[in-house]
């Protein structure tokens, strides 16, 4: 079983190819160039390095949101183009879930934090129990105070990770009442290898979609739609 995985949901661009229980190659970049400029050249390079026969892929896993709207679409359009051309299904991997999967096997609570702006984070709560991945709080966009409250209510040690930490570390230090730590570099940002591994679990459960069907999960309306809904609501009141 061979999977290609792509993540361009945040600051990081990452591609990986796994075959059964082996990571054949992974390429992750966290640099100022745009995903549009880096993603396919990265895939091309790693594919050449491992002499990938593209037709041998079973599916393409894509980190499908939430995240940067434009970043998600670059990843999704790339996956959809590959799926269309190679006639392969796509695996829609929730971004926050894949981020949590970076910390496979920990006995601590896992809390990914992605900066969602507008005083919110894209987050969720996860744990590994008897080597099984469990979702305790599905990925969502909520206030940082809200997620810290939920973490405190769990009453157990937690590891935070994600690009949200860069801006929220002080707030966490101030309000988090349970023992906490921050994941180190190498584990604390999106990695396509995690997308691939979680994608493999989903693939084995038959959870694939056609390339045509796939679209990102933004977890948020566009600003124009939101404002229109607010106006309609105000009007009704």
């Amino acid at each position: 079983m061979k999977l290609l995985a792509i993540d361009s949901s945040g600051l990081v661009a990452s591609v990986a190819i796994i075959e059964d229980n082996n990571l054949l190659g992974e390429y992750t970049i966290n640099y100022k160039k745009t995903h549009s400029q880096t993603l396919l050249p990265m895939l091309d390079e790693v594919a050449k390095m491992i002499e990938l026969d593209k037709a041998s892929l079973d599916a393409i896993a894509v980190s499908a949101g939430p995240g940067s709207f434009t970043g998600l679409r670059i990843g999704s359009a790339t996956a959809k183009g590959l799926g269309l051309a190679l006639n392969k299904p796509l695996i829609h991997v929730p971004t926050v879930d894949a981020l949590a999967y970076n910390l496979w096997g920990t006995d601590k609570l896992i809390c990914p934090l992605m900066d969602a702006r507008r005083q919110q984070v894209y987050t969720g709560l996860y744990e590994f129990a008897e080597n099984e991945f469990h979702i305790l709080l599905e990925q969502c966009a909520i206030g940082i105070d809200e997620i810290i409250e939920k973490v405190n209510a769990m009453g157990r040690p937690v590891i935070f990770l994600g690009d949200g930490i860069d801006v929220l570390a002080e707030e966490i230090k101030e309000h988090c009442k349970v023992p906490f730590s921050f994941a180190p570099a190498g584990m604390n940002k999106q990695r396509a290898a995690s997308v691939a591994l979680l994608g493999k679990e989903l693939y084995e459960k038959g959870k694939t979609v056609s390339a045509a069907e796939h679209a990102p999960d933004y977890l948020r309306l566009s600003q124009a739609e939101r404002e229109r809904k607010e106006k309609e609501r105000d009007f009704r009141i």
């Binding site: 549009s36 396919l40 709207f69 999704s76 359009a77 799926g83 051309a85 045509a212 679209a215 566009s222």
Partner: protein
Amino acid sequence: MIKETEKEIKILAIESSCDETAAAVVVNGRDLRSNVISSQIDLHTLYGGVVPEIASRKHIEKINQVIEQALSDADMTLDDMDAIGVTYGPGLIGALLVGVAEAKAISYAKDIPLVGVHHIEGHISANYIENKDLEPPFLCLVVSGGHTHLVKVADYGKYEILGRTRDDAAGEAFDKVARAIGLGYPGGPKIEKVSYEGNSDAIAFPRAKIADGVYDFSFSGLKSAVLNYLNGCRMKGEEINQADVAASFQKSVTDVLVEHAMHAIDEYKMDKFAIAGGVASNGVIRQALEEACKKKGVAFYRPSPILCTDNAAMIGAAAYYDFIAGKRAGLDLNAVANLKLGE
């Protein structure tokens, strides 16, 4: 290198620069085999104009279906394609990126050469599909919701911009005026429709001239003049004749377009003139330009309305001439929102 002109060159073209998701198959730049356009116009009508984020979201939902439809309508597969052409600017960045990322992925997956196409070059090239005898050099007026360019097409892929708008595009002025007189979005077709019931000489709106650019356009002054006129009427309690305002405004735009075009035809001694872009499907503007060309004995060319609005067929036509000239894009091709013609 094989002589590519002797072979049939089949191109899959993709366009997503604004609010239409489009794909087409074009053979040898002029033979249109399929032309699929998924328009989002109803969605944006709610907001009185195109909302970039909504447009981008719709593109990603539709793009695979549109491409698959274009291939199946042409009775071909990706394996038949010699190249993929994609619009990489100018346009809405988020919208462009969907088409660019998709095109690059297909190009990479199937090892099909990729050609990046300028959106305006596409509009101009729409004329090649409709008019098999048209060859450069000719003069082209590109008028749409986002662009107003007077271009000398010196040769395939060689453009000299003689004039462009300094502020609003012609189509933008139509949208704004239509909104102001209560016609709604999209302004172009709605103004044209009511204009037939109005008197185009009823109100004397200005025809802007630009001192340091004979061929440049300015439509924001005209738009302001219309708004001032409307305000004046309201203050005086006078009734506004929607059809007269629409007809007079449209006349003012038409006069400027005709004047600039004819001036350039004379100065550059052109014997062929073509129009392109969404506003080129406006019947009044089209007729005025055609008549003015006739008077001068200049051949007049125009694409049919379906090739005037944004479409991928025109991108396929432009991509063909770029392709045979050896132009290729790499896997790092990026979308460029304000891409200049000739870059």
